[in-house]
Symmetry: C2
Subunit: 481 residues, 2 copies
Amino acid sequence: MLFDRDAAPAVLSPEQEEVVHQQALRILEEIGIDILHDEARRLLAEAGQAIDGDRVRWDRDFVMEQVAKAPRTFTLHARNPARSVEVGGGTPLWMNVGGPPFWSDLDGGRREGTLEGHDIIVKLTHAADVLNCVQIGAVEPVNLPVHNRHLDMEYSGIRLSDKPYTTYGTSGPKARDGIELARILHGGDLGEKTALLGIVNSLSPLIWDFRMADALMTWAEANQAVVVTPFLLAGATAPVSVSGGIAQQVAEALSGVALAQLVRPGCPCLYGSFFTATDMRTGAPAFGTPESVFGVLAGAQMARRYGLPYRGGGGLASSPAVDAQAAAETQMMLWATMLAGTDVVLHAAGWLEGGLVASLEKFALDVELLRQFRRQMEGIGFSEEELAFEALEAVGPGGLWLAAPHTRAHFKEWLYLSPLFLTQDFATWKMSGAETTDVVANRLWKQLLASYEDPGIDPAVDEELRAYIERRKQEPPEPED
Amino acid sequence: MLFDRDAAPAVLSPEQEEVVHQQALRILEEIGIDILHDEARRLLAEAGQAIDGDRVRWDRDFVMEQVAKAPRTFTLHARNPARSVEVGGGTPLWMNVGGPPFWSDLDGGRREGTLEGHDIIVKLTHAADVLNCVQIGAVEPVNLPVHNRHLDMEYSGIRLSDKPYTTYGTSGPKARDGIELARILHGGDLGEKTALLGIVNSLSPLIWDFRMADALMTWAEANQAVVVTPFLLAGATAPVSVSGGIAQQVAEALSGVALAQLVRPGCPCLYGSFFTATDMRTGAPAFGTPESVFGVLAGAQMARRYGLPYRGGGGLASSPAVDAQAAAETQMMLWATMLAGTDVVLHAAGWLEGGLVASLEKFALDVELLRQFRRQMEGIGFSEEELAFEALEAVGPGGLWLAAPHTRAHFKEWLYLSPLFLTQDFATWKMSGAETTDVVANRLWKQLLASYEDPGIDPAVDEELRAYIERRKQEPPEPED
């Protein structure tokens, strides 16, 4: 079966995998990691790790013992229980882009992010049946205050969709807000429930800064899932060599997982991989390159070694337009993502221009690609009717399958039909305006948006969510550092 | 290692593979195949096969015995011996598009094929280091006489490149011309040398027509490689179900291989797969769909079962423009092609609009994608310098890889740099004309063409080639049916 997590292609030989593993442990032991968080260092010191100023040098056995405490799978609870997903259990989480300061579509052009844009992308994500998760922060409403706009984004995702979601938190206080909102959403108490995926990025190379460490510890303490993702750009935050970069990734990822497990043994943690090249002509990250394909697949291999669910890949592209470059880069990334059997795919739909832009036409393109991958995941059917021996006998040598009852009976069900990729003859295409894919995609996201159905929300819960947000907006900003 | 032929992902379980195999043999035995060629039927009758009019019903043991005679690998000899390739030996043959009646580029637009267009594509193929084979018939010079333009195309490929090539022959007489020209090219006698790949398509479902059977037998007799490729469009020439389509493919492919082996035991034969969906909205083939991905991978699996080198996939796309659709479709096909460990890839560069157009911008796009795949085939480097432990130690937590001596020493060699896929910031991109990929590709194919170096040819050989062609053009057309 294609895209089987347990049959992912090995880009590292067993020996190479071991070399990466040993080097990562050596990095942790000999070079160490700066942890800019007093409480985290105190916990690590208590656990016997060597502390020297901010520097922590890790005992390899300690690290591996901690990592082993993280579960192989866990349930990510949605407010609609039918939409909860067993992460690591074979159903990948696919979600919209997150983080861009700009959004764009062919009508409105490229413009600064707004809450309206965030709402639209959440609605598109909710309406797209191939997406089963919402990423909060779909586009940054940069016109809103930076210290409390996370509350508006969180509400946008919670209110407009009942799919599971990643929370925004990029600091301890923001992480706590996300947890409080999730508690309200789930009836006042989460108990042991994991209802959030929280993403933390190490400050590469080899630093956990205060905010990220604080968010990580906050989520871990509340038994929410921590996606530990070193943000590695070869030539900027990592070496220009893939093997060296992956070793650095493992060291940083394992340190984050170990810290989370120290805070709360058994809390869900993911191994996150984000490794790509820097384009030295511009200093910008280049997505879809061979390095990023290697990064996705090698990261998955290491995550499996450690028994951790895997976050990686996505529909990442560098192109500023929804053109051939964007599609080519996205396919490089998505094929690697799919082959790796990736459990959690952030940025699966809508990512453009190196993540600076959430594009609605790119969203429609990505949703179409994901639909095709989902069809491929279903595999080849082998019913008697599909094997079609009797039908071939009836058609016979030189017969016309086009006119066969077998074809008429089954083509609608069995032949994949793309609403985006068309096959008109050239004259028709020319006459109807010679539309390129982005133009067709513009119609498609509008159709998708028009198909959006509000999942509704319990009015009492809604009132409580709004009251919490209102109250927090009245309070002075909390220090985050 | 990615793209290892021996570790290709299995889209068919062992049981499913057996079901396909058994059904193919049952098709050959019970339904049979019409062979519209008296001499072929005579040979098959002599070999004990059941003949009923044009219909041949095949004994399964006979078929498998014949197929087993084909070699697993063979050398395809180029006139420049340094360019000869062991087909099936791990180095895939990648070549330009073949067959389109139109060609196009952004300057000249879409227009009817000419010999000038053919020459340009041969030159681009020769200049592109990632392509190691020329496909004769890069674009059909439709203004030249149909009965002898194959001679001009063959000369174009032979004269302008010294890479190995596929011959054009679509009938016995044309196949014989190709063989005669190859004899001249190789010093007057081919002996046992295989210097040509000849492509034959069954007339699906379940017919070998006279021309194709005649070409097949002509090449087999001369020990030239026969690429037996059923041309299957689900819903037109095959059922709308993948498993039924692949079973039909195996039946047709094995019948062609068996016939070739009957003509000359041990002659090189390839299992060819060309299976895609019909877009029922237009009646046109749709490339890059899930069915075509399945087709490429399932065909490869069956070819390996039979110990035959595999031809399949390519840079196939339906889109009429070099846009996101074209790139997305091409990537679907190329990833499947690469994962399948495909030995011979026709149409790897330049295919557009369902094969109706040879596009020069698409050629540049495809060459870039192939370069990236080639880099991926090389795998991840594991030298001490690439593992970069000492370099990381020197950079340290919070250090700058960008400024590190390790980065400066190695980025040019190790970071993949694309001439086509750019990462300018948005303002720069806008100011410099907001170029989409096709516009950049237009510059790239011109650069590639400008870099073309004539491989030259022995003047005596050239004279003999020209004399042969001149003589053949004076002769009345040979009957082909």
